[in-house]
Assembly symmetry: C2
Homo-oligomer: 210 residues x 2
């Protein structure tokens, strides 16, 4: 029949689960993160993260009534992680209005990448990695490079290497605040061997062995 | 940066929840349907159906350990309902290989429409309604018309009325097996008043008052 008698609305699973997260109906686990108590549903966490699954249905199964402490993570980051788990989207990374906010985004992308790696949520990991690839600048590149090495982000490492192929940007990175704090010797060595032309092969070998 | 360093995979929330349904990790409620025991997760059911939410977090909250009996529904229909709740899709309605199977599909669409209405799952309701609109034939039209009246499906009712505007199809419906069993007086009256031309206005009024 050509005439449309019925209009089927778009998929809304993500919206239903987003409402569930907001309303917290039937939440059966509470986390303690950065001084805040944050509730959630074990079944949704387990469905989306093999790490949560192992923790919540394994070691912590008997004590689900007690709040679970999450160290080394800010409450906002954990909340964004939960939002992604429930809805498959990360609105906190969508703001691109001005430079200040973009900088905040990049910081959030870094934190979320670490959180996604910790809970083995591959798609969020890649979304953060993509975000960082698209916002490489001289201030952030040292941090991104270190992150890429610590969390096995090949694409981000490649993007940083490409960015640093320009001598002026390489120099600016070395002078940036983030450099000393974030530098990660193994990836810097790899960078050096990439940037040095082939005629310095022996030199490269020496550098890699330092 | 133009070069693509990272490929972000497609949304996979529905796949994660589909796996949760399959593996039943952390299921916290069991239903008794058509002789089968079927387990599920209250948080997912509540997120997707206001009726399940009211039942599971309201009246039945204290007795969630006991199986919940579902009457007047076949196990296969309930399973398809659950699959939609978890994944936002209905593969059981996608088969269109041959006529026999298409007929089975239409029967399933009718059952699922009733189930979706019972649990107030609007999108599934409309998917079933659309399916029925696209598979109206002389054998099924009486059933579809009755369903449309009982479950408030305006689009389906319109589609049936349009189909029955042909005198030969109207006659075939009246002769079909489903007619007497499924006929629904109020909708048949409405059909009659639609099909009768304007000059029979008084006659229409009389029919409506019978």
């Amino acid at each position: 029949m050509d005439k449309e008698f019925v209009v089927v609305p778009r998929i809304n699973l993500h919206r239903c689960l987003g409402d569930l997260l907001k309303n917290m109906d039937g939440a059966d686990v509470t986390f303690h993160v950065g001084g805040e108590k944050i509730s959630a549903h074990t079944s949704v966490l387990a469905a989306r993260s093999s790490v949560f699954k192992a923790e919540l249905f394994g070691a912590m199964k008997e004590n689900l009534g007690d709040p679970i402490g999450i160290d080394d993570m800010e409450a906002d980051v954990f909340k964004s992680l939960l939002y992604f788990i429930y809805t498959d989207s990360v609105p906190v990374l969508d703001m691109t209005s001005n430079e200040g906010e973009a900088h905040g985004d990049v910081a959030m992308a870094s934190h979320l990448l670490v959180a996604a790696d910790r809970y083995n949520i591959k798609r969020l990991n890649l979304i953060c990695e993509e975000k960082l690839c698209n916002h490489i600048d001289t201030n952030m590149v040292a941090t991104s490079l270190a992150l890429s090495e610590q969390h096995g982000c090949k694409g981000l490492k490649e993007a940083c290497f490409e960015f640093l192929a320009s001598p002026s940007k390489l120099k600016a990175m070395k002078a940036s605040d983030g450099y000393e704090k974030k530098s990660c010797p193994s990836v810097l060595k790899e960078l050096i061997t990439r940037l040095l032309p082939d005629e310095f092969e022996t030199l490269k070998d020496i550098i890699m062995e330092i």
